[in-house]
């Protein structure tokens, strides 16, 4: 368990660790509210069927409604969490997922148990017991999660790794000055070069104004470290200057 309570670190037998971010009780409550609304909507839609059934038998239609609501209100969560590997519609919307507390495959018995214990967690109103338990629990677990050995995590925003836009499409004019390039590699510490590369990799995540300010500062730092001839630097933007520097530093290792 991580020192920070909103994270769960799981160590595999291979000695590798991975971190899952725990969902807060508030996000879980919102997801639950969405799910409850969906169940109600489905019930409203299906009640149209019972109107037709009433023509055949009012008794049967009434019985159907009672059973349908019961099965739907419990079965919705169990069926979806089992079918979608720990997600319901509400959880999908909030990017949440139920998983085994030890990182193992979520079992159907866990899904069933955590959902049956909603009866206790929802007491006395609006999930007061479950919410209080989740707030006090180190892993944000309600009673159902404790019994079933599950946690609810926030799904990270996944992006398959792509080759970054670091690759120099245009010619790096610094290459014409190998002595200065060597000096740059020698003077810039690894932390600074990593910082510059990171700034470029995260280009799209930065606000344009912030990005320009950051690149100006970083380019200024690199300009101070090594002075390239003015004829090749005067036409370069801060961003391009930074790209040339990063290309110079990391190209060396190829």
């Amino acid at each position: 368990m991580s020192a920070r309570y909103n994270e769960l670190t799981i160590s595999t037998p291979e000695g590798v660790e991975f971190v899952r971010r725990l969902a807060s009780p508030v996000t879980r409550f919102i997801a639950l509210a969405v799910d409850v609304m969906i169940v109600s909507s489905i019930m409203t839609l299906l009640s149209l069927i019972t109107i037709f059934m009433q023509w055949v038998s009012a008794d049967f239609a009434q019985a159907f409604t009672i059973l349908l609501y019961f099965v739907l209100s419990i079965g919705y969560f169990i069926f979806l969490e089992a079918a979608w590997r720990g997600q319901t519609v509400g959880k999908r919307m909030m990017r949440l997922r139920v998983m085994d507390a030890n990182g193992l495959k979520l079992q159907a018995s866990q899904v069933v148990l955590r959902n049956l214990l909603r009866f206790i967690d929802s007491l006395p109103f609006l999930y007061f017991v479950g919410g209080s338990c989740a707030l006090l629990s180190k892993r944000s677990q309600r009673l159902g999660d404790l019994a079933a050995g599950t946690i609810v995590v926030r799904e990270p925003e996944l992006q398959a790794p792509t080759l970054s836009d670091l690759g120099q499409k245009s010619y790096n004019s610094f290459r014409d000055h190998p002595r200065l390039e060597a000096l740059l590699r020698q003077r810039v510490p690894p932390e600074s070069s990593e910082l510059a590369m990171q700034a470029l990799r995260r280009r799209e995540e930065l606000e344009p104004a912030e990005r320009a300010r950051l690149y100006r500062r970083l380019a200024g730092y690199f300009r101070d470290e090594v002075k390239f001839p003015e004829e090749i630097t005067e036409a370069l933007s801060d961003e391009q200057y930074l790209r040339n520097c990063v290309d110079t530093i990391y190209r060396a290792a190829k």
Partner: protein, 337 residues
């Protein structure tokens, strides 16, 4: 440390993609299985991806790829160390038929404790009513039980002679009973999370109510009516609630008492499937009890003779006892030898 991240990603990405494809295949349906060669390949790729994550963890400048690999390792870890693949629904239901009585027998001592609690409540309720009849509204706070039992019997039998007392309402009543009783059973089991105290209270309370009702009808000389009324559905419904109590006490005992050096989460993991088997079997019993209560218990003489109702209830109870005590014994014996 990876110095050339670009090269690292280019070289390793095909393996990551292949591993992700295999994961998607496994995750798309819990019944999907890999061939032995594919399992080997899956294991190989998992170890490669885990190693890549370990390498990249040192390299803090690449959070997106790290998160991506973490996700792959987490999903792979779940598949690698997960248990057997899911079975078709029909197979599970067939397994439930024998698993339910076996689970009941595995925790039989808890069931005896449940019977003691419920029986204690019943004796308390019966004695309380016998000693102080004014306690009736407290012991049985249900309007339909507060009147004189003999009046009710006369009323119900007169109604039965005139017409079908449940005409046009059997299905609705049956559905209400099924859902209500299943909720009570789930609640009884779930209250095990209060270290079993809540389950114990519910069992004692229900025992007290039933004990008081029985005593009330016996004192009024309506024992036969009561047996005919309660036995057809009660011979299944009451055991079902007792079995739910068994599940609740199992949960409570697991929370309270250590078993060797096992952690609480390990102990809970050990009983999880037992609880699900119990509640699934209980649900089936309660569906049956709901049908019987609506379509049989509410019919009295002259429509349905009490002797038939009582005989039905006794046979049903014996059948249930036989099922719970005998089914699956062969498999248990085979396992022990």
């Amino acid at each position: 440390m990876i110095i050339d991240l670009e090269k690292f990603i280019i070289t390793r990405k095909p393996d990551w993609d292949e591993f992700e494809t295999m994961l998607e295949f496994l995750e798309s349906d819990s019944r999907h299985q890999l061939s032995p060669d594919e399992v080997q390949r899956f294991h190989f790729l998992y170890e490669r991806v885990a190693a890549d994550l370990a390498k990249l963890s040192v390299y803090a400048a690449e959070p997106k790829t790290k998160v991506y690999l973490e996700s792959l390792v987490a999903r792979g870890f779940g598949e690698m160390h997960g248990r057997s693949r899911g079975l078709p629904l029909l197979t599970r239901l067939a397994q439930l038929f024998t698993a339910f009585p076996k689970t009941f027998r595995a925790h039989f001592r808890l069931f005896l404790l449940v019977v003691a609690l419920f029986g204690g409540g019943a004796i308390f309720g019966a004695l309380a009513l016998a000693l102080d009849e004014t306690a009736k509204p407290v012991l049985m706070p249900f309007s339909h039980l507060l009147g004189d039992p003999s009046d009710r019997v006369a009323e119900e039998e007169a109604e039965a002679a005139d017409s079908d007392p449940m005409k046009g309402g059997k299905s609705t009543f049956s559905a209400s009973l099924m859902t209500h009783n299943t909720k009570v059973a789930i609640f009884t089991l779930a209250l095990g999370m209060t270290f079993g105290v809540g389950t114990g209270v519910i069992l004692f309370y229900n025992g007290a109510v039933i004990g008081a009702v029985i005593m009330d009808y016996i004192l009024a000389g309506e024992g036969v009516f009561l047996t005919g009324w309660l036995l057809p559905h009660g011979s299944v419904e009451i055991p079902a609630i007792l079995l739910a109590g068994q599940g609740g006490l199992l949960l409570g005992r697991t929370l309270l008492f250590a078993q060797g050096r096992q952690s609480l989460s390990q102990r809970l993991r050990n009983i999880r499937s037992d609880l699900v088997v119990l509640i699934s079997g209980i649900a089936v019993l309660l569906i049956w009890a709901g049908i019987i209560e609506s379509f049989m218990s509410q019919y009295h003489e002259p429509i349905l003779p009490y002797s038939v109702k009582i005989a039905f209830g006794v046979v049903q109870l014996l059948g249930l006892i036989a099922y719970l005590t005998l089914v699956g014994r062969k498999e248990e014996g085979a396992l022990q030898t």
